[in-house]
């Protein structure tokens, strides 16, 4: 069945599948943890119950999303060794410590205080509980910092040397961590997470506003507040994200010009005034963009801010070092297209808010609802762009993907891939269903707490219930 598919392609597909599924959850929980900290902070500051309602409402959703992120994340931690053992052996002396720091400074912090955050409000009091929420939020951000440092080093390696046994090792840790693409990628990723969360919160708010209007009833105050907060966040982060994305692109042009050529669909180099290809159908075999729709000279202007600037095409890249253009080319366009829609939503919401009509514009709410999942799609499209665009390397320019894989037979990788696909769609499908069910109920005063719904609290069984625990004999 897999005769014509190599173990390498299966391993690549497996990594793409498991990491894409995994990243959906952190993309949401990084933003949501911070949102929860803001909500609890507002509740402590203002004493308004509506913030506590919203806190409990989103905490239940966070608990499920975070749980899915943790279990799919453990898979990632071990997959480096199971499927990419040659890479692990060679790269570990540089990236291993960064990942160890991620475990020590982030994972323990998150898992240690998650229990307090979910079950401890009655036990530790408001202030300490708020601290736990903040620590979980900080933990998710620290985690992003380290893993982005690892990924960025693999994209733009520096501060390393290669030992006689073939292993990379660090010559300067500062240069390794703060490698050239790291600050840009981190900003772009964190803003992406905030934007993704804001779009989800906004869509849930929009859904209930639209539903309440249809049923002719007044919206809950909590619904209005979350919708307004989300739209404000989109209005601020969407333009920032466009800016960060642009700077990230300029940085990539400087350090990974071959990736930019693939993203832009530039098979040929241009001495000046490179066009901006809006759309086309890439043909790697012919090294040609078919049916292209392009704007003359705009390419040079956008990336180099100079119409006279020359651009490097894939023709300047050795054939064995070229990425397949279709993935980065299409994925990049999906991301940018969704980014434009997000920008539009943020601007429209700001305009409506300025006129005092944020809660009345049905079409803007419909757009907000429609863009609910857009953050996830854009984030994944962005990662597909950057990860397929740096092929055929795992460590850009230094270690080829084909030299990184484990010595495994195709049936082993195929079997585990099938198992992951079945389990992930089932398990995370069910979890997503629970999250959607929670989102479909409007937050109300007396919002149940996560700990109330999640069975028996530690030490909190009422005496009547404990009677059932007496010896049966």
């Amino acid at each position: 069945m897999f005769d014509d598919v190599s173990a390498l392609s299966l391993a690549r597909f497996q990594f793409a599948f498991t990491v894409s599924f995994h990243f959906i959850f952190p993309a949401f929980s990084i933003g949501l943890a911070s949102y929860l900290a803001v909500l609890e902070g507002l509740w402590l500051k203002t004493g308004r119950d509506v913030y506590l309602q919203l806190f409990h409402y989103w905490l239940k959703i966070f608990a499920i999303a975070f749980g899915m992120g943790v279990v799919s994340g453990i898979v990632m931690a071990y997959q480096f060794g199971s499927n990419w053992s040659a890479f692990s052996d060679k790269a570990s002396p540089v990236i291993g410590p960064l990942m160890a720091y991620e475990v020590l400074s982030a994972f323990f912090l998150e898992s240690g205080f998650l229990g307090v955050m979910l079950f401890g409000l009655d036990r530790v009091g408001k202030k300490l509980h708020f601290m736990a929420t903040c620590l979980v939020a900080i933990g998710t951000t620290i985690s992003a910092f380290w893993i982005i440092a690892v990924n960025s080093w693999m994209q733009t390696p520096q501060g390393y040397a290669i030992a006689s046994n073939g292993q990379f090792y660090a010559t300067d840790w500062w240069l390794v961590v703060f490698n050239p693409s790291m600050p840009y990628r981190l900003a772009h990723t964190l803003l992406g997470a905030y934007l993704t969360t804001a779009l989800v919160v906004g869509a849930v708010g929009a859904w209930h506003l639209l539903k309440d209007r249809k049923l002719g009833r007044a919206a809950q105050p909590a619904t209005k507040i979350m919708f307004a907060m989300a739209m404000g966040m989109v209005a601020v982060t969407a333009p920032l994200q466009v800016l960060a994305g642009h700077e990230h692109g300029v940085n990539t042009l400087q350090h990974q010009p071959a990736k930019i050529a693939a993203m832009e669909g530039h098979y040929e180099s241009h001495d000046r005034a490179a066009p901006l290809i809006l759309f086309g159908i890439p043909d790697d075999a012919a090294q040609e963009m078919r049916y292209k729709l392009e704007v003359p000279a705009l390419g040079s202007l956008v990336l180099q801010h100079d119409i006279e600037a020359a651009t490097t095409g894939l023709d300047k890249v050795a054939p064995e070092n070229r990425a397949k253009v279709a993935f980065p080319f299409y994925a990049f366009r999906v991301m940018v297209g969704l980014g434009v829609l997000m920008l539009l939503l943020g601007g429209w919401a700001a305009f409506n808010a300025a006129r005092g009509r944020l809660f009345d514009n049905v079409w803007q709410q419909r757009l907000a609802l429609g863009l609910g999942p857009a953050g996830f799609v854009a984030v994944l499209a962005g990662w597909i762009t950057t990860e397929t665009g740096r092929q055929p390397f795992t460590i850009f320019g230094l270690l080829r993907t084909a030299e990184s894989a484990s010595p495994l037979a195709a049936p082993a990788v195929a079997a585990s891939l099938i198992a992951f696909i079945i389990v992930y769609f089932f398990v995370f499908g069910v979890g997503t269903w629970f999250i959607i069910k929670l989102m479909a109920t409007e937050p109300t005063p007396g919002e149940p707490e996560a700990s109330d719904e999640e069975a028996v609290e530690v030490g909190s069984l009422p005496p009547e219930a404990a009677i059932g625990l007496q010896p049966a004999e």
């Binding site: 499920i64 052996d89 002396p93 998650l114 079950f119 660090a170 484990s406 028996v456 030490g459 404990a466």
Partner: protein, 334 residues
């Protein structure tokens, strides 16, 4: 950038401690999962799961430190062993997925039986796979150059199945003893019964693995039965026997905390025994910890992080346990 010999020992110790903490903490979480079908649906299961709900996630993180630590500190061992135990490793990960999400999903579904089963099956599969991985590593793997050279079923042997079953028994015992400590009434009575069975199975398992291991290779044999190895190894079985007897006495007296502590001690001794068998191999018979160790500057860079952060982690982990202390479901009765 050669590894530092002393730091290599330090890192072997850190990873040993991380894996041990994982085994004895997530061990009782998984043990409760293994015992789940023996508990009555409703109050009994809810109480059992409530005792671990606030702590299991932090317990599981030690597995990430253990695995991530081998990756970071002994990359060559990680690169050889992970493909060697591919199938049980994937099985463990899938088991942990079901176990982990079952905590959340049970509370949100009308099909609670389905996620109770997932909790049981995921916990049991993860425990069994961890035992198989242990056995597969102990029995040795084929190596060529810097990579694994065997097939993807090499891990399967009577010995690895024995270690798999042993870990299931051991975790069940830890789960039962934890419940004795943290519950009252019918749940506790049931836990005592399970502790008897789990204790018997664990002692039998430790004996069987201890007898089988020295015959896997002459190297193991000489450490256990020939001088000078025997001077170091002989106290271990003696202490194990004493601990086993104390454990039986504690169960008979219906002590509440002692069975848990003695069970943990039992596994500490078994763990030390394994250490005596393996040291200083990272891949038994093939690669020593010094050959597998990462660059010296990576060892020291990470050690700074461990020195600064591990005490803090232990501090807030202890705080978490203290916060959720006491008998569960026992308010007004304790």
């Amino acid at each position: 950038m050669a590894p530092d010999p002393i730091l290599t020992l330090v890192w072997a110790g850190i990873i040993g401690v991380a894996i041990f903490i994982y085994v004895v903490t997530d061990g009782f979480d998984l043990g409760i999962g293994i015992l789940f079908p023996t508990m009555a649906p409703g109050a009994e299961r809810e109480t059992a799961i409530a005792t671990i709900k606030p702590v299991w996630d932090a317990n599981q993180t030690w597995l990430v430190l253990g695995g991530g630590g081998v990756f970071a500190a002994f990359p060559l061992a990680y690169a050889i062993l992970m493909p060697a135990v591919y199938a049980p490793l994937i099985a463990m990960l899938l088991g942990l997925i079901f176990r982990g999400v079952a905590f959340k999903y049970r509370a949100r579904t009308s099909r609670i039986w389905l996620w109770d089963f997932a909790f049981f099956a995921g916990s049991t599969l993860a425990a069994f796979a961890q035992g198989v991985i242990l056995g597969a590593v102990l029995q040795g793997v084929k190596v060529s150059g810097r990579s694994y050279a065997g097939g993807w079923w090499d891990w399967l042997s009577p010995f690895s199945l024995l270690t798999g079953a042993s870990v299931v028994a051991a975790y069940a015992l830890l789960g039962a003893c934890w419940l004795i400590w943290r519950t009252v009434g019918a749940v506790q009575d049931h836990a005592y019964r399970m502790a008897w069975r789990g204790g018997g199975a664990s002692i039998a398992a430790i004996a069987a693995v201890s007898l089988a291991t020295p015959f896997l290779s002459h190297d193991y044999f000489s450490r256990w039965f020939e001088t000078p190895g025997i001077y170091f190894s002989a106290p271990v079985p003696i202490l194990l026997a004493i601990t086993g007897l104390l454990f039986i006495r504690a169960l008979k007296r219906r002590a509440e905390v002692a069975p848990f502590l003695l069970a943990e001690l039992l596994f500490l001794l078994a763990f030390i025994g394994l250490g005596i068998s393996i040291f200083p191999w990272a891949v038994p018979g093939q690669v020593t910890i010094w050959q597998a160790a990462t660059a010296g500057n990576a060892q020291s860079f990470m050690l700074v992080g461990v020195g600064l952060l591990l005490p803090v982690i232990l501090g807030y982990t202890a705080y978490g346990y203290w916060l959720f202390r006491g008998k569960v479901g026992a308010e007004g009765y304790a």
